[in-house]
Each structure stands twice: as C-alpha cells, then as structure tokens.
C-alpha cells in the first residue's frame, strides 16, 4: 500500500468529501422511468447513477434454467464502459459476475418464489456512473423496479455500506474512501423483517469495529428505505379528488 500523503478524515472528524462520519451521501430516487420494462427505477446515490429494470414474471429462457416448483430470479449487474475513470471493457468481468450473484441473493429473500412456479423475473442493472457503493445502490434501485413491476414482495430491500477510513468507522464510503480506506462493508437489509440479505467485507476490522459498521450500515439502510417508500408512493400517488 502506498504512503498516503492526505488523510481521508481530519482531526475534526470531517471526511475528504466534507461529510461527517455518520453522514449519508445525497440520494435521489425515481420509479417507473422506462416505458418498456414491467418495472423500473433510477437512483442517484452520491455520484453513482444507476438504472434498474425488471421484466416478468415470464417464461424462462433457456428452458433448462426453469424450476418446476418456483420462480427463478436472474440479475445482471453491468457497468457501462464510460462509468469509471479508466474505460471498462463492456464484456462482463469476474467482479460483475460475482456482484450479479450477490445482488440476486440479496433480493430473493424478498420474493415469494413458490407462488409462481416455472416462471422467471429478470432484473437488469446498468451502472451509468460509479463512485463507490454501486452494489448497494443497485439493490436499492432493483428492489423498487421489482415492486414497480407488480411482483409481490415481503419488503423492499435497501442497500448501504459502512467501513473504516483511517481510524474511524464511517457510513457510506465513496470511491476514494473505498480504494484507500481500511475496510468496506456493504449491507442489504429488509427493515420490516430485520433481515440482512447481503453482507460482505474486504479489509481488516476488529470484531467490535465490525459490529459498529454493521449497525451503522443498517441505520443508513433505514434512512434510504424511507426514501424508497416515498419514491414508490410518489409514482402511485392518489389523484386529488375531482370536484364537480
């Protein structure tokens, strides 16, 4: 690891992007942005810009992937070549394959898979611009896209990461903090059921720091969850009563 000439968090506890340790980046959500998808959502989380679309339930292709007794969820997490500093090849990288898998596994617990045997739901996530924490933002958008498509869910799934930068456990790392920090802990959560559906970590944490990071990430998730509900309600807002 190279010698860091700058600290990522200063003596007053202010981070390199001006935030406090427990501060979230700004989040903007929109539901129903793509007319051809059954459900869709767009998220801006800090500088992340991510689009999610859901199709289904529908027939599974290729047929051998179909399950006789349940619905199959397929997720494709993909980054646009222009989404990162160094142009990224459009071909799926190993990282994208792993993220597609863990994102799928973060959303499955929310679905009633046994209700729709022999069908599939396809979720496509396109990262248009990446700035750290894309898998969490992707999950937040994907869950909204699924809800928007009319597929029943146990709860919305929301994603948020925490980590450690210099000596401090912080919420919602952005790209520089992710690359130069000590640890990154992405979490996905279903608040109504107190269920953690995604948890990963890379870096080094003492068990106590780990516990603090998970709790911090869950608090971040709860805040974004309120925004998810708002975004969904905004799209389906009851039309004001028409006066005769």
């Amino acid at each position: 690891m190279n010698e860091k000439t700058e600290k990522l968090i200063d003596k007053k506890g202010i981070r390199s992007d001006g935030r406090k340790a427990d501060e979230l980046r700004p989040v903007k959500l929109q539901v129903g942005v793509l007319s051809n998808a059954d459900g869709s959502a767009y998220i801006e989380h800090g500088k992340n810009k991510i689009l999610a679309a859901a199709f289904g339930p529908r027939e599974v292709h290729p047929k051998h992937l179909m399950q006789a007794d349940r619905m199959v969820l397929k997720v494709r997490y993909h980054m646009a070549p222009f989404s990162v500093q160094e142009r990224k090849s459009p071909a799926p990288s190993r990282r994208e394959v792993e993220l597609s898998k863990v994102i799928k596994e973060s959303l499955e617990p929310a679905l009633f898979l046994e209700l729709y045997p022999r069908t599939g739901v396809d979720v496509f996530v396109e990262v248009l611009q990446a700035d750290g924490g894309t898998r969490c933002a992707a999950i937040t958008a994907a869950a909204l896209a699924i809800a928007d498509s009319g597929v029943p869910m146990r709860d919305l799934v929301v994603g948020c990461a925490a980590g450690k930068v210099d000596d401090t456990v912080v919420l919602d790392l952005y790209d520089a903090e992710d690359k130069l920090g000590i640890a990154d802990v992405p979490v996905a959560y279903m608040p109504s059921l107190n269920a953690i559906t995604l948890l990963q970590m890379d870096g080094i944490l003492e068990p106590a720091e780990f516990e603090k990071a998970v709790n911090m990430a869950m608090d971040g998730c709860k805040k974004i969850y309120e925004m998810q509900k708002e975004a969904l309600k905004t799209k389906y807002m009851v039309v004001k009563e028409v006066e005769e």
Binding site: R94, K101, E105, P109, A195, L198, Q200, M201, D202, E206
Partner: protein, 263 residues
C-alpha cells in the same frame, strides 16, 4: 439445479438439527475431519490437497514473472482462480467459470489478499518493472459440501508449500539462479463458513445440508482476531444477532483449526 435430496431426507435433516445433531453424528458446530497433503504436484511451485470430510480440493501454485500494477509498483501480484471440474459433481458442466466458481475464487482471494498473508513487497524484483506473479489455481475434485472452506485451507497449505526461484539482477538483466526460497508468508488467514437451517447455525455444511440451508455466511479471520473477509451467500437472510453469533463461531473455529494444523 435439480435437487439431489428427497423430501423425506430433507425432513430427516431438519428434525435432527432441531435436536442439535446432524446426519453424520456431528454437533451443530463440529467440523468434519481434515486431511492435508502438500507438495504432490512437483511441476508446480507449490501444491496441496485437502480432504474436508469427502470434499476434495487440490490447489496448485505457479510462480511466474510479470509487471506490477501501476498503483503498486513495489508489490508482487496475486491471482486466484477456481475450477469446478466436472469430475467433482454430476452438476458441474465443462465450460468457462460460472458464477459459483467465480464467487469461490474471489472469496478465497479476499481472505488471502486482505490479510496480507503474503509479504508482497518481497516479491518485487525491480520496482515498477518486474515482480513475481503468484497464480493460485483451485481445482475442486469432489464436491461434498463447503467448497469455500476446503478451498481456502488448500490454498493456504499450497502457499505454505510454495517456493520461489532464486535470482539476481546484474546490469539490468534478470538471471535465475540455483535454489529456491520459500514464499514469504506472514500470517495464516482461516475461513469458516456457517450455514443456517430453520434458524439454527451449523458449521461446515455437508452437501445434503447445503440443499436444506437457506443461506450461509463465511468469515475469514487472522491470528490477531481481526476479520479480513466476509461473504453472505444463498437465498435466505440473517438477523443482525445471527450475524454476530456466526462471527464469534468463526473466530473460535479458526483458533481451533490453527492449533490442529500448527499454523
């Protein structure tokens, strides 16, 4: 994937777990027998074969030469790949790595990389120009459950078995000399995977238990008690309390394993 296990068997497994037991007489937190062999592939710079119960994983380490990454000019390069070869299971098909083998490789990689168990700077030959590249290839030979832990143990054992060629740099030219130096390994990360069946946590899930369990969580830890990698997998979920419980189990089991293997 079609189910290997009948409904009757699944119920049997669940009922036993309620009583705190498993089909092979293990307790919920007991690991299967581990057998390790090192150095069996002479053409590889390092190798190890691990039996975790009947799960069998062979790891070969090749050490080559290459360029360092631009942002780490003084460090060697580590790359981990995994193959779920068809001999290991009727469900593995030949072809490029699928999401399961990619996840397996990346989780094992994370444990090794984040723990900094390889002293990367000692792999540097000429800063910015030439470094040693360590290729860790995980070959799953028989799948009887818990590929992650078996692969991680095998990878660690293979790295401990790895030798790098001696060399000297004279007038800007690299010359390989006689003799070898062991790969500089600073610590021993240990990976412990815990599965969840009906709210009960079980370590080292066996293949039929993997059909029943709704999710798993893997923790890689170091000797100093820090956690260096975590991966949740499966279609289920964990409560925060279960996560913390699993982390404590993983730390305890890692201590147990290091003692057993003398790491």
């Amino acid at each position: 994937m079609s189910s290997l296990v009948t409904k009757v068997r699944l119920r049997q497994i669940e009922q036993l777990i309620e009583k705190g037991k498993r089909l092979d007489d293990r307790g919920l937190l007991d690991t299967r027998e581990i057998k390790i062999e090192q150095g069996l592939i002479e053409k590889a710079e390092g190798s190890a074969r691990v039996f975790l119960g009947k799960t069998e994983v062979l790891v070969g380490v090749k050490v080559g030469l290459g360029e360092p990454f631009p942002d780490t000019p003084n460090e060697g390069v580590l790359t981990v790949n995994a193959e779920l070869v068809p001999v290991a299971s009727p469900h593995f098909e030949p072809g490029p790595p699928d999401e399961n083998s990619i996840e397996l490789a990346r989780v094992v990689d994370r444990g090794i990389r984040e723990s900094k168990c390889i002293d990367n700077e000692k792999l540097c030959i000429e800063p910015g120009k030439k470094v040693f590249v360590v290729f860790v290839d995980i070959y799953v030979l028989n799948h009887d459950g818990n590929l992650i832990d078996a692969s991680a143990i095998a990878a660690m054992a293979a790295l401990l078995n790895t030798k790098m060629p001696n060399y000297e740099v004279k007038d800007g030219e690299l010359k390989i000399k006689q003799g070898y130096t062991p790969l500089p390994v600073k610590n021993h990360p240990v990976t412990v995977t815990t599965g969840k069946i009906n709210g009960h946590l079980i370590t080292d899930p066996w293949i039929e238990e993997e059909q029943v369990m709704d999710s798993r969580i893997t923790f890689a830890t170091k000797e100093d008690g820090t956690i260096c990698a975590i991966q949740k997998g499966g279609s289920g979920y964990f409560t925060p309390q279960q996560i913390l419980e699993a982390s404590k189990i993983a730390l305890d089991k890692a201590v147990e394993l290091r003692k057993k293997l003398d790491w």
